[in-house]
Each structure stands twice: as C-alpha cells, then as structure tokens.
Amino acid sequence: MSEMYDLRVHIEKQIKAKGLDFMEVRGQIGLRAGKLLAFINPTTVDEPEAIAKLKKAAKDVLNLNL
C-alpha cells in the first residue's frame, strides 16, 4: 500500500464525514494537488513532492492536518 493511497482514502473519509459535496471537494483538492484523486491506487508510487502537495491541498480545503 502506498502512502499516497492512504492519504486519498483518509481525505475521502473526511469529506464524507463532514457531509460536503464529495465530487466538488475532491475536485478542489485534486486541482490544488495537481492530481486526479480517482487515479491514486494502492500501487501509486510515493513521490515526496506529490505527497507534500496533497497534504497541503487537504489542509487548505479541509483544514486537515495529515
């Protein structure tokens, strides 16, 4: 399992838990991170830069500290 995938799963859970528009919020995070979250899977290669961007996007949009 990759860290990128773990982050994706955690972010998606948080979106659902907060009752937000799933597609829109996931899209906002994806645009900020420069990634399509739907394309992140357990085999996705962990790149430190991509992980940092995803964490920052989650913090900006959801105020989520990962």
Partner: protein, 388 residues
C-alpha cells in the same frame, strides 16, 4: 471581501462613482441653491427699491396734479397776487385738511422775490416770511419750471413738488410747494409688502438744529447721538437690528445690496439696503429693508433635498441594477463553470456545462464544455492506454 475579485473591483468602482456622483450633485445643488438664495435676496432688495420708486413717482404725480389744479384756480391765484394771506388760508385750508389725509403733509406758497420767502405754510400758518435756500428753491428760480424730488428740510426728508404760479398774462405770482414725508412711505410699503423698513439719513446732510426742531415738531425722541454717521428718520419695527450698519451710507451701491441673510426662529429673512438721493443728486441716506423669504427659501431647500434624494436613489438603483446584471450575466455563470470543472476533476463525469447564451461568457461555457468532453473522453481511454 476579496479585493482581487472582479466583483469586488466593480463594486468598489460603482461605490466610488456613487459617492463622486452624489457629492457632485450635492455640491451642484448647494451651489445652485446658494445662487438662487442670493438672487432671491437681491430681488427682495430690488423689489423694495422699485416699490419705493413707484410710490415716489405716484406721490409726485399726485402732488403735480394738485398743483396743476391749483394753478387753474383763479381765486387762489388772485389771493396770491394780492398777497392776501388770510383769504389764501381760508381758500386752501379746507383743501389742506383733505390733502393731509392723502399724505401731503407740507404745503407752502412762496413769493416770487429772490430767495422766495415763504408766504403761507398751510401746515404751520403762523410761521412765514423765512427763506429756505434749498436746492429745489434755487432750481425753480433758475429754470421757472416745475421741480420735483427729495429734499431734506426742517420737517424732515420729503418728496416735494414746486411749481411756479403765473396769472393769465404770464406774470410770475409766486410758487406753490407740496411735500410728503418719505418716512410715511415706509409705513405704506410695510402695509403693501409686510416687510420692515428703516430710513436713515446721513448726518452730513442733516442740520443738527433742524433735526432737533423736527423731532420736537413730530414729538419724537432726539436720536442724533445714537449713531456717529447717520440718524434714523423712521422705521417700521421697534427693533434696531434692522438698521445695523457700519459702512458709509454714501458708498451704498445704486442698485442696492444685500447685507445679510439671517434666521429668526423658523423664519429666514434678508436684510438689504438701497440709497436715497435728493433732488441735487446727493446720496443723502438709505433705506433698509428686511424681507421674509421663508416660503420661497423653504421651497427651494425642499426642492434641493428632493433632488439630492432622487439622485442618490437613482444612482443607488443604477448601481444595484449593474451589480445584479453582472452577477446574473457573468459571475454566477463563471461560478457554475468553475464548479462543474472542479466536479469533473473530482470524478463527476456526468455533470455538463449548459451553454446558456452566445455572449462572451457563453463562448467560455461552450469552450469549457467542449474541453470537458475531451477530458472525459481521454479519461475513459486511460485504462486502455495503460493496458497498452
């Protein structure tokens, strides 16, 4: 409020326009209001001066008519020619009582000799034989033609008419003079206009002794020492505020001038002054006028306030309409494009952008929709690409 948004910038620009527009309109209205108020004040003084001149002309006309009637009266001419003072008094005394009711307070007959001594004073029959040596007396002796105008005399400042008396053969018998105190004018003017007036005379043209005698005759307080430059001949109000003046009466503008605009309770008044000239052309005094301009002033102020309110309301409505129009035609549609694009990135490949118009934003909607279709198509082929 984010300052980098077009919506914010447009809003700020519109607010700036509103503020500048309202400030401009208010300033313009205030300028116009002030000018109109000044014109109204000036017109009040001009109207008072005009009324004074009309009254003056009317009285001169009246006294000239009486003089003409007298010249045609053979009995009167005979009494003058024969220097029969008792008969002249008997003939004219009853007429004088009637004329006095009409405002003619002075009536004199003069003999034709140099200095034209007074032969009979109808308003003071026991006093005669004196020489007045006034400008108008000298003028009629020089021209032998009727003379009219204002002149100061023992009994005060009066509008006078002097006409020569001649018999059928053209022999000079003497002169007849009528006079009406200008002080009376201001009361007539007050009756007609409701305004208050004050009549001042420059001390330069008033003899101190004459003034005391005049006040004694008219049973008035001797007010000579009240002011260093002028004396108050008469006024229509007990208040002295009407005659407050520090300037030189001789320097008052010929067309009159507004001295001040002031409030008294809810009423607004204009105080002005116009000069009075004697028959010799000297600026011997001035007339003060206090005119109530409340009705017109309040109406003007009301109009100004309504115009300002209408302007503010119109500009505010215009601002609201522009913002609403921008919101509907641009901002909401841009928000929708952003939301759909974001959702597509989030995985919603079903939402599409509805092209609502062919305007500029509609072209962006169309472009984004076409781009979305291409994007979704690319995504749908990704597994195949990856498989390859």
């Amino acid at each position: 409020m984010k300052l980098n948004l077009i919506r914010t910038k447009v809003l700020l620009a519109l607010i700036a326009c509103l503020v500048i527009g309202v400030a401009g309109i208010v300033a313009l209205m205030q300028y116009s209001f002030t000018r109109n108020a000044d014109a109204l004040a000036a017109e009040s003084v001009t109207a008072a001066q005009r009324l004074f001149m009309i009254l003056e002309a009317r009285e001169i006309s009246k006294m000239s008519a009486v003089a003409d009637m007298l010249i045609a009266n053979d009995e009167v001419l005979d009494a003058v020619a024969s220097r029969d003072r008792p008969r002249l008094l008997a003939l004219t005394g009853p007429m004088y009582l009637e004329l006095k009711k009409q405002g003619i307070t002075n009536w004199m007959f003069h003999t034709p000799e140099a200095g034209m001594p007074v032969f009979l004073r109808l308003h003071n029959p026991t006093l005669f034989g004196d020489q007045l040596n006034r400008f108008m007396d000298k003028e009629i002796q020089r021209t032998h033609a009727p003379v009219e105008g204002n002149e100061l005399a023992r009994a005060g400042f009066a509008v006078r008419v002097i006409e020569p008396l001649t018999n059928a053969q053209g022999k000079q018998l003497g002169y007849v003079e009528f006079g009406e105190e200008i002080g009376q004018f201001i009361h007539t003017m007050k009756q007609q206009t409701g305004d208050d007036y004050g009549l001042l005379l420059s001390k330069r043209y008033v003899d101190r002794q004459f003034w005391s005698q005049s006040n004694a005759i008219l049973k008035r307080r001797d007010n000579w020492n009240d002011n260093p430059r002028f004396v108050v001949a008469d006024k229509t109000t007990p208040s002295d505020s009407i005659i407050k003046f520090d300037g030189d009466l001789g320097a008052v503008h010929a067309e009159g001038s507004v001295l001040e605009r002031f409030h008294d309770g809810n009423a607004i008044f204009v105080r002005g002054i116009f000069p009075l000239h004697d028959a010799a052309g000297n600026s011997v005094g001035a007339m003060f006028v206090v005119h109530d301009i409340s009705a017109t002033y309040v109406a003007m102020r009301g109009t100004r306030n309504i115009l300002v309110l209408v302007t503010v309301a119109t500009l505010s409505l215009g601002m609201f309409l522009v913002l609403t129009l921008l919101d509907r035609l641009v901002f909401r549609r841009l928000d929708r494009i952003i939301r759909i694009a974001t959702r597509v990135v989030g995985g919603d490949y079903e939402s599409n952008i509805h092209v609502s118009s062919e305007d500029e934003v509609g072209q962006i909607e169309l472009l984004f929709e076409q781009f979305r279709c291409v994007f979704v198509d690319v995504l749908s082929h990704v597994p195949e690409l990856m498989g390859k």
